[in-house]
């Protein structure tokens, strides 16, 4: 019974598929019916009624089922067709009827009787082994022997995320995602298994539908921000388009991508058309975000009081504090502009909204399938003056010319128009950052003599005696309203693929694949800073300052691939082998013009005559090629062996080191298939061990390093040309290679209800690339652009757990997933020069922590002083109990005195130079060695920036048509330097401070832990444990409700799907951390510093998807 059902199904599949072929065949020209030996004719009738059938398609198909000719029956049910070959067959197809395929042979009359197909509307179930794409091969999922983790679209169909990174965050063990900023269009940084490069690229490679997705940036442009853009464009892959995401983690799996794979690989597969009726789907998302309340700042009144004390304290002179802007003196001409309580942060914040419309049409038949989607995205930032508009389309067309030949075309187009806040070169602070620093007693608008706002923005005059850090800090509201910083970007990616089976795929598969893909990317940036946002004189370069920047790049990638999969008589063996040749060539160019002093603020084109500040242009080209061989062998689908070897060549290296070879070997033993496992099957139904080993590489980010380049100075000397060698030739630069060993286990328990995926890895990166390492400047150069400097280890483990259907009844199901990971970076060796440049001497200045990079030690350790509060009294006076005063004490706590019995004052003397004698109200640091001076000998270990444990967990609950998903992520055991608090409490500059400083020490005897205000003086904010905090946290990351309207309600109104969802992001964060947000990036050599003044935004997204 079972068997016959399957057979039936097999037969009926083509019938459904043929729906599209009907359309297609109808389009083919119908040949005139001419008599002759190569013409067949006939009548088609209904089996039950005997009536003639009109418009039955008749196709002539060859041995590979390629349609070579076709026609249809006329109103009398009659057809005639001139066939190409008597060896072909005729295929009769009619909607709702069983397909008939009849050989032509010598027969010339076909009177066909067609019967109704009773199974035509049944669901089609295809039983085949689930396969996964590992980047190069499609192999059965259970035979995967490397460390990779896949997220299926189904997993986020229930979740309905707003973007790709949301879908991934917290889901994949060992993948850390931190959003760079909340600004529209800004990207995020991703790390797979930590950082394995010092100054090279550390972002994973993104591969979309098998094609590496990279942005080539000409050397003019900053690499770090360029990467940000790359990941921003990743977000433009709409989650609605994604079929699945696979993260390749170990080197055996990333070896497929050779030199680009060292940081891990993210494989994204987009959806393609499905056979069936044409489907239309529309989805809409609305996201509302608000700038959360960050640090609380002083009002104008409190601020001026602080400033007056801050100027007075260092030299105890009222004249030092006699600054008109703080005096509230009505005779001061600008009095009204400096007597306010402006909340700058509120002035630049707003409610941000995102509208995201997305429409998809998909469908197809046996011959052709398609999926076309388009989106319209509009976002306004939570800070004024930021908007992002995006139009994106993606299409996917597949055409099966025959069973053996398939043609695919993909096309994606994105246009993006992003208005950002203006940031000028010398003060690249964000608008929000300016708002946090700007003095609160100054007004937003210039005020008249009665204190009423005019319609002109107020800029502090250049003649003001205020410190230039405030004087030249622009009015952030004026910047947002009047200055321009616009980026327009077009990106077009057409891809053409062919797949051809050289032999009959059902016997021995020998398949040839080829693709050609183009990536055209265009950027246009225009910036303009009008006169009205500053008080600079007309000839200052910040007045009517205009910048225009254009860049474009084109890259062409090709792949020629041959896959061989023989069928063995003995079905225990399975074998796949593949060779591929990949090439990529790209060119990019850019130019930039900066000018200033335009005669009018209305003219913002930098090319109009004004003062030309600079013009730069760049042109670069790059080529890479790779030869890849892959082999997969499985015996009984139980013992699996994989081998990958890739050789890469790149124009970025000189002839000596042009090629790099990256092998990967992995194996898997599915232990649970063995006979001895049988007793355990009831509990652990699947158990597999996967060891793997491999090498992957990293290359420098720049071209032409192996040449001694001669370039021009922008201007010559007199009328002489000036050409000079611009950089030292790197004759000896090598690939950075990472060798990683991974031991993994896959465990499925209780009939796949509980699945575990465990990995332990050890990764050693050799020939670390170090960028811009100083060399003696006596060479004529300041630095070498790249050097190979040492070896680094990454060790870690990851646990993924998924419990599906923990509870399962007819209407209720509960699933739970969890992941845990940890990784440790360790420097194994580093050249002295690199160590020296990373380990600077203790600078002795405020705010800096000592960091040490040492061989055989993990990095990220924080060293500093111990903070003991504030000296309560200025003079030591034991009689009156004034013992908390700045005097030196010995080990036993006795005051050290000089020959006259006068207590020795406590001093700050770093590197042997006395820099400061402490007074009452100053910060008190622990004198660890009791020598009466605070110096580098009193520096102690304060913590480490690396978490001991990372993870995430959350349940998914479904009840009837309702769904509820929660997700939590956490970090444990790391320390953070709260630099934001440090800067907001140091009372050292003119910047506005947090309200905590209202508890500062003001007079002798005050008991507080907040030191006195000292403008540009003293050492009250040395790097100490005062700012080092435990960064452990548990975040309720999101909460999603969704509801699918039941099909029985929808059917009558002609819809196939309505699903809605509501997501709350960043619901709550449990932490002891006093800063606004403990989730900060921590990789790299320096200590983890939190500069954020505002927490991660809390937003909600409301979405609806309608299927027609």
């Amino acid at each position: 019974m079972e068997n016959s059902k399957f057979k039936n199904m097999k037969r009926y599949i083509p019938l459904r598929l043929f729906l599209f072929a009907v359309l297609f065949a109808g389009m083919l020209p119908v040949h005139a019916q001419t008599a002759g030996s190569d013409v067949v004719r006939g009548v088609v009738t209904d089996k039950t009624t005997g009536e003639v059938l009109i418009s039955v398609t008749i196709a002539e198909i060859d041995a590979n089922n390629r349609t070579v000719n076709g026609t249809a029956t006329n109103a009398d049910g009659v057809f005639a067709i001139r066939f190409k070959s008597a060896d072909n067959k005729l295929k009769f197809n009619y909607l709702g009827y069983q397909v008939q395929i009849l050989p032509i042979g010598s027969r010339r009359t076909f009177n066909v009787v067609m019967g109704e197909d009773s199974h035509a509307i049944n669901e089609v179930v295809v039983t085949a082994k689930a396969t996964s794409n590992t980047g190069g091969l499609n192999i059965p999922t259970r035979e995967i022997s490397t460390a990779m983790q896949k997220i299926d679209a189904k997993e986020f169909e229930g979740l309905q995320v707003a973007s790709v990174d949301d879908a991934l965050q917290g889901r994949i063990a060992g993948l850390d995602i931190v959003a760079n900023s909340g600004e529209p269009g800004a990207g995020m940084s991703m790390r797979i298994r930590g950082t394995s490069s010092i100054t090279g690229n550390t972002q994973p490679l993104i591969v979309v539908n098998g094609i590496p997705f990279e942005t080539d940036i000409s050397t003019n442009f900053d690499f770090s921000t360029a990467n940000e853009e790359q990941y921003a464009s990743l977000i433009s892959v709409n989650p609605d388009d994604i079929q699945e995401i696979t993260v390749l983690k170990d080197a055996a799996s990333t070896a497929v991508y050779g030199s680009k794979g060292a940081n891990g690989v993210l494989l994204i597969t987009t959806k393609r058309g499905t056979v069936g009726k044409t489907k239309l789907q529309y989805s809409y998302r609305l996201t509302g975000a608000k700038q959360p309340e960050g640090m609380k700042l002083l009002t104008g009144d409190d601020y001026t009081m602080l400033m007056k004390q801050s100027y007075y304290n260092p030299i105890l002179s009222p004249s030092a504090a006699d600054i008109k802007e703080f005096n509230y003196d009505k005779n001061f001409s600008e009095y009204e502009n400096f007597n306010n309580n402006t909340d700058w942060v509120a002035a630049v914040s707003q409610q941000g909204w995102t509208n995201d419309h997305y429409i998809t049409v998909s469908g197809g038949g046996e011959k052709a399938r398609f999926r076309v989607s388009g989106g319209l995205y509009n976002q306004t930032g939570t800070v004024i003056g930021q908007t992002l508009d995006r139009v994106s389309t993606r299409s996917f067309l597949e055409y099966n010319v025959s069973d053996r030949l398939r043609f695919t075309s993909e096309f994606s187009y994105t246009y993006q128009n992003n208005d950002k806040n203006y940031t000028d070169g010398n003060n690249s602070a964000s608008l929000l950052d300016i708002a946090y620093r700007k003095m609160p007693n100054v007004s937003i608008y210039a005020q008249d003599m009665n204190g009423n706002n005019t319609d002109v923005f107020y800029n502090i005059s250049q003649t003001s005696q205020l410190n230039s850090s405030q004087k030249n800090l622009m009015n952030p509201v004026a910047l947002a309203m009047l200055a321009t910083n616009n980026v327009k970007n077009y990106r077009i990616l057409p891809t053409f693929r062919l797949q051809y089976d050289l032999t009959d795929p059902n016997k021995n598969l020998l398949r040839y694949d080829v693709y050609v893909t183009f990536d055209m990317n265009n950027n246009k940036t225009s910036r303009f800073l009008p006169k009205a946002v500053s008080s600079y004189a007309w000839d200052n370069q910040n007045v009517n300052h205009a910048e225009g920047e254009d860049s474009e790049s084109l890259s062409i990638q090709t792949e020629n691939k041959l896959t061989w999969q023989p069928k063995f008589g003995n079905e225990n063996h399975s074998f796949i082998a593949m060779v591929s040749l990949q090439t990529k060539s790209s060119t990019s160019q850019g130019q930039e013009v900066i000018s200033y002093g335009q005669t009018s603020s209305e003219i913002s084109d930098p090319s109009t005559a004004a003062y030309l500040y600079s013009t730069t242009s760049s042109l670069s080209a790059a080529r890479t090629m790779g030869i890849l061989e892959m082999l997969h062998y499985a015996y009984k689908s139980r013992y699996i062996f994989d081998l990958t070897v890739r050789t890469d060549g790149s124009t970025r290296f000189g002839p000596n080191n042009r090629f790099g070879t990256f092998p990967g070997i992995s194996g898997k033993w599915i232990v649970s298939d063995e006979d001895f496992w049988k007793p355990l099957k009831g509990i652990i139904n699947d158990f597999a061990v996967r060891p793997s080993w491999g090498i992957s590489g990293n290359q420098p980010a720049r071209e032409y390093l192996h040449y001694s380049l001669y370039g021009n100075y922008p201007t010559g000397y007199m009328d002489m040309a000036a050409i000079h060698p611009v950089a030292l030739q790197l004759s000896d630069l090598k690939w950075e290679t990472s060798t990683s060993t991974n031991i993994g286990m896959d465990i499925n328990m209780f009939d796949n209800k509980l699945t575990w995926d465990l990995n332990y890895y050890h990764k050693r990166t050799k020939d670390l690339l170090f960028q811009s390492l100083d060399i003696p400047s006596s060479s004529g150069y300041a630095a070498l652009s790249y050097q190979n400097v040492g070896t680094m280890d990454n060790d870690g483990w990851e646990i993924n757990m998924h419990a599906s259907n923990l509870i399962k009844t007819k209407s209720l199901s509960v699933s739970f997933s969890m992941n845990l990971s940890n990784q440790v970076n360790k420097i194994i060796s580093l050249t002295d020069k690199a160590l020296n440049s990373l380990n600077a001497d203790f600078s002795g200045s405020n705010g800096s922590y000592l960091t040490r990079v040492q061989e055989n030690n993990a990095y990220g350790s924080i060293y500093g002083f111990r903070y003991l509060g504030v000296y309560q009294y200025n003079e030591y006076d034991e009689a009156n109990g004034h013992t908390n005063a700045p005097v030196a004490k010995d080990k036993d706590g006795n005051v050290i005195t000089d020959a006259y019995g006068i207590p020795k004052p406590m001093v700050y003397a770093p590197n042997g130079t006395t820099k400061w004698t402490f007074n009452g109200g100053d910060a008190k640091y622990e004198d660890i060695n009791h020598d009466g001076s605070i110096d580098e000998l009193d520096i102690v270990y304060l913590g480490n920036s690396n978490p001991k444990l990372n993870g995430g967990f959350g349940p998914t609950i479904r009840y009837k048509d309702f769904g509820l998903t929660m997700f939590f992520n956490f970090r444990y055991g790391n320390s953070i330097v709260n630099a934001a608090r440090m800067n907001a409490e140091n009372m050292y500059t003119n910047d506005n401070q947090s309200i905590a400083v209202n508890w500062r020490w003001r007079k002798d005897g005050d008991i507080t832990s907040m030191p006195r205000a000292l403008y540009n003086t003293g050492f009250n904010w040395l790097g100490s444990d005062r700012y080092v905090e435990d960064g452990s946290f548990l975040r309720f990351k999101y909460l999603t409700f969704n509801y699918n309207v039941p099909a029985k309600v929808l059917k009558p109104i002609g819809l196939s799907q309505i699903s809605t969802y509501l997501t709350f992001n960043n619901v709550y964060c449990f932490t002891k951390y006093t800063g606004v947000d403990p989730e900060i990036g921590y990789s790299g050599f320096s200590v983890a510093k939190d500069m954020n003044k505002t927490p991660r935004s809390k937003d909600f997204t409301l979405g609806v998807t309608i299927g027609f």
Partner: protein
């Protein structure tokens, strides 16, 4: 999409890789040359390319970092300046003689960049002769002379500022070289400079047949001026005098119309410092307002809108700069006392030399100063320097006849600046002993070259000659009278000869452990944890 097209693409796709592999080897496909820059293998093919790199040797000297160092090293620590409100902490460190190894002005990189370009010319230019038939030996030698002269000038700055520095005479080519070089002593370097300059002098151009080139590029005469200066520093007084004499003889031989002459007092400011390339100029670095502007001068001295880092000393110390006052080095009649700086309210003077446009004086003797919006050239040598170098060398001679000759030299510049005083206004009777004649030369150099980046070197040369810093510290400490602590600290520091020279920048030491720090700046072993 029809079948034909598909077939076409398909065929092409098959052929493409075959072509790639067949036609050229992979390695060749992977060697890609930049399109907007030249590579070494394609360079050094003809004479114009040699000239373009020589152009870079000059061009690198007028980069702000290099230009600023020439100004700062030569004068910032002297008694010609006091800090203005706009001064940065790093400049202040220098002015208070409290220099740390983190002070960016102890970075010598910009000078070595120029030196490396010169070495590049000297290394590659001879090979061009074989490739370019039109490139003559004479041209080659002329370019080589320029490279030698520029390199010598840069080393001369380094020797005067650091004393011992690495002497590098070959270009840096690639990353396989050992850049960790050691220091060479000042005497070794000076010896090299003298020999290089002698060679350069022989082969250099006498006349570029281009008025601006004659001032902006090295010629036989300007190389003589530099050589005389090196001799003077190296205490080779006879050779210095000889070089100056040769200069003056050659100059006289040019004839009345072509020879260099001091510009008359009335036009001195306008022609020498405002317009530039005057008839008394020997070698000056050429800036262009629509090319490279002289920002360093404006940053240090200020402009009409922004005040610079320094002012001329006020009455608190240094000069009593009010003209006519008894302590002023300038007499009321001295045009330089009016033209070089503008006394303004608040008791200090704004520097006017180089950044000013013109000065007009009304009948009651009150001057109005107008500042320029453009930038100036930077004068390295002018005729006055030949007179006063010769005077300084003569004043070291034991022979009173030479002292008289020295006075004659001083009178050249003094008479020009004090036209009202008549001929030979400084009388031998008043300066008849060696000490007073030496003092006179020192004072006249200060008056004549104020703000031209020379005074500190004059004082160091004096200290080196006497092996004692007492005179130097007597002068410079006056500028610190308003700050007792700073003055006391500076006094103790300036008692060491080593303290007159800059430390090696800390990052330089960490990049090159073979360098030995100037002993004055070695502190206790830095503690690290």
């Amino acid at each position: 999409m029809n079948m034909k097209m598909i077939k076409k693409i398909f065929k092409k796709a098959l052929i493409l890789p075959a072509l790639l592999i067949g036609m050229s080897s992979c390695s060749e496909w992977l060697s890609l040359k930049p399109q907007d820059q030249m590579v070494l293998d394609d360079y050094w093919k003809d004479g114009s390319q040699v000239e373009a790199v020589v152009g870079s040797c000059y061009r690198a000297m007028i980069e702000d970092a290099c230009m600023e160092r020439m100004m700062i090293w030569g004068e910032l620590r002297s008694d010609n300046f006091v800090a203005s409100k706009n001064v940065g902490s790093k400049q202040k460190e220098l002015m208070q003689h409290n220099i740390l190894t983190s002070n960016p002005y102890s970075q010598w990189g910009p000078m070595y960049t120029v030196i490396n370009y010169c070495n590049t010319v000297l290394y590659y230019a001879p090979g061009v002769m074989d490739l370019d038939a039109n490139f003559t030996e004479g041209e080659l030698h002329a370019y080589e002379s320029e490279a030698l002269a520029i390199r010598s000038l840069m080393y001369f700055y380094l020797v005067r500022s650091f004393r011992d520095v690495p002497l590098i005479l070959v270009p840096s080519k690639d990353d396989t070289e050992n850049f960790a070089v050691t220091k060479d002593s000042a005497s070794v370097i000076l010896k090299q400079l003298i020999s290089d300059l002698k060679t350069a002098k022989n082969y250099a151009m006498s006349d570029w047949d281009n008025a601006r080139y004659n001032k902006g590029r090295f010629t036989k005469q300007s190389i003589r001026a530099l050589l005389a200066d090196v001799y003077l520093w190296n205490k080779q007084y006879a050779e210095c005098i000889h070089e100056c004499d040769e200069f003056l003889t050659n100059n006289a031989a040019l004839g009345e119309t072509d020879m260099l002459k001091l510009v008359e007092a009335e036009y001195m400011y306008a022609e020498v410092f405002n317009r530039g390339n005057s008839s008394e100029s020997i070698f000056e670095l050429q800036f262009d307002d629509d090319g490279k502007t002289n920002l360093a001068v404006n940053t240090v001295f200020g402009t009409n809108t922004i005040s610079g880092w320094v002012s001329a000393p006020n009455s608190e110390g240094g000069w009593e700069f009010t003209p006519g006052s008894t302590q002023s080095p300038y007499k009321l009649t001295d045009i330089r006392g009016k033209d070089f700086f503008q006394p303004i309210s608040g008791g200090f003077s704004k520097i006017f030399k180089y950044v000013g446009a013109s000065r007009s004086e009304n009948q009651s003797g009150i001057s109005t100063y107008t500042y320029r919006t453009t930038t100036s050239n930077w004068i390295v040598y002018r005729l006055s320097d030949i007179y006063l170098m010769r005077a300084e060398a003569l004043a070291q001679s034991p022979s009173p006849a030479d002292w008289q000759d020295a006075l004659y030299m001083v009178n050249q510049t003094y008479m020009r600046a004090n036209p009202d005083l008549g001929l030979d206004s400084l009388k031998y009777a008043s300066y008849s002993n060696q000490a007073s004649i030496q003092q006179l030369v020192l004072d006249e150099r200060q008056r004549e070259f104020a703000f031209e980046g020379k005074r500190w070197f004059d004082l160091v040369r004096l200290s080196e000659r006497e092996q004692n810093t007492s005179k130097l510290s007597g002068y410079v400490l006056k500028t610190l009278t308003s700050d007792n602590t700073a003055q006391t600290l500076a006094k103790s520091k300036l008692s060491f000869m080593d303290a007159l020279y800059l430390p090696i920048f800390q990052d330089e030491i960490s990049a090159n452990p073979s360098l030995k720090q100037n002993p004055f700046y070695i502190t206790d072993e830095t503690v690290s944890k």
